[in-house]
């Protein structure tokens, strides 16, 4: 069993709200400097920069997980994590069918850049990404699970797009693997402030939109760095563990 530091939520320049510094080589460097072994790239409703970050991490010990931060019909943000690019590709096609066909206005929402592994510009994503899909939260979770991914409501304590602010509780039908806390609340304080999250495994991420926002506080004890192992660790099964190290 080996210890892995995981960051399960981070953005690239594809997310209109991320800073221009969020390009693959700088992301990889910043994550490694923070001691992170396992990094999920989770842009808003999009995933076109995942491969570039994976390529930028080649030759390092950093493992980059394909992911996405989906916005549901209720405007809840949901981390959707996968092991392989095939799963991610299937997921992205499905998401595309559930996004409204609206164009991004970069003046108001920001630029959406697809880049290569060196950070060079490839194209602008024209689809409006900062909006809701028409998946309900439960539908989205079921669809992620159908592709054998992990579904984790993001920054549940945040006013904008946080599960607790919007729905107030974790719906009974929402079979999530964990709940994510933002940088603004610790895992010690959160269950006291939000008793309705009692019993759910918690993770905490920086939701990095800038290079200095990686947290790197989730420590997993795993056989190998796969999501199947992470899932076991979140449930503390078969000797797998998860805990928080001080950020």
């Amino acid at each position: 069993m080996k210890s892995y530091i995981a960051e399960l939520h981070s953005h690239t320049v594809l997310s209109p709200c991320a800073e221009v510094e969020m390009i693959p080589p700088l992301i990889v460097r910043a994550a490694i400097e923070r001691g992170i072994d396992l990094l999920a790239v989770t842009d808003h409703n999009a995933s076109a920069n995942v491969v570039a970050v994976q390529k930028a991490a080649q030759g390092t010990d950093l493992r980059v997980l394909p992911g996405m931060e989906l916005q549901t019909r209720e405007e809840v943000h949901l981390l959707c994590l996968f092991d392989t690019l095939e799963q991610l590709e299937a997921w992205q096609s499905l998401v595309n069918e559930h996004l409204p066909s609206l164009e991004n206005d970069s003046k108001y929402f920001g630029e959406q850049f697809v880049v290569d592994e060196t950070g060079e510009f490839i194209r602008r994503e024209t689809q409006l990404l900062l909006t809701s899909t028409d998946f309900s939260l439960e539908e989205a979770i079921a669809a992620v699970h159908a592709l054998e991914g992990l579904a984790i409501p993001a920054h549940i304590d945040r006013k904008a797009n946080g599960l607790l602010e919007i729905l107030g509780f974790v719906p009974e039908g929402a079979q999530v693997e964990a709940l994510e806390l933002s940088r603004h609340v610790t895992a010690e304080v959160a269950p006291l402030r939000y008793p309705q999250i009692h019993g759910y495994p918690l993770v905490r991420d920086g939701d990095a939109h800038r290079l200095n926002e990686f947290l790197g506080v989730n420590e997993f004890l795993l056989e190998s760095p796969t999501l199947a192992e992470v899932k076991l660790a979140l449930r503390r099964e078969n000797g797998r563990e998860h805990r928080f190290r001080s950020g």
């Binding site: 409204p100 108001y108 900062l130 909006t131 809701s132 904008a160």
Partner: protein, 112 residues
């Protein structure tokens, strides 16, 4: 009816920079707390009634060139929201009243 009339009749608190609100004529109203609905349904120049007070409301109001956002139930926007609103020229107004009552009063005033 001008925005100034609305502010006076509903006793709204102006959160953003003062301006000549008697020169602004709202074209109508819209209410929803889901930003995606607002983006799809609200009209240019409308007043938007919501209890959301986070940063993203400013982008939506700026995009749709709204007359103002009326933030209800005493929801408090953060400093970042206020700064962005001032930057974008979005008018933020606040009240302790619930959205239902604000809308009722605006309707009575003739806003459609």
């Amino acid at each position: 009816m001008t925005l100034q009339d609305v502010i006076e009749r509903l006793d709204l608190k102006v959160l953003t920079q003062p301006a000549n609100f008697s020169k602004v004529t709202p074209t109508g109203g819209y209410t929803s707390d889901l930003l995606s609905c607002v983006m799809a349904g609200a009209k240019k120049g409308a007043v938007w009634i919501t209890l959301q007070a986070h940063l993203n409301i400013v982008a939506v109001a700026a995009l749709l060139e709204m007359s103002a956002i009326i933030i209800t139930e005493n929801a408090q926007p953060e400093a970042a929201t206020l700064n962005k609103a001032n930057e974008e020229g979005v008018v933020l107004l606040a009240t302790e009243l619930p959205s239902f009552e604000v809308i009722g009063r605006l309707w009575e005033m003739g806003l459609r």
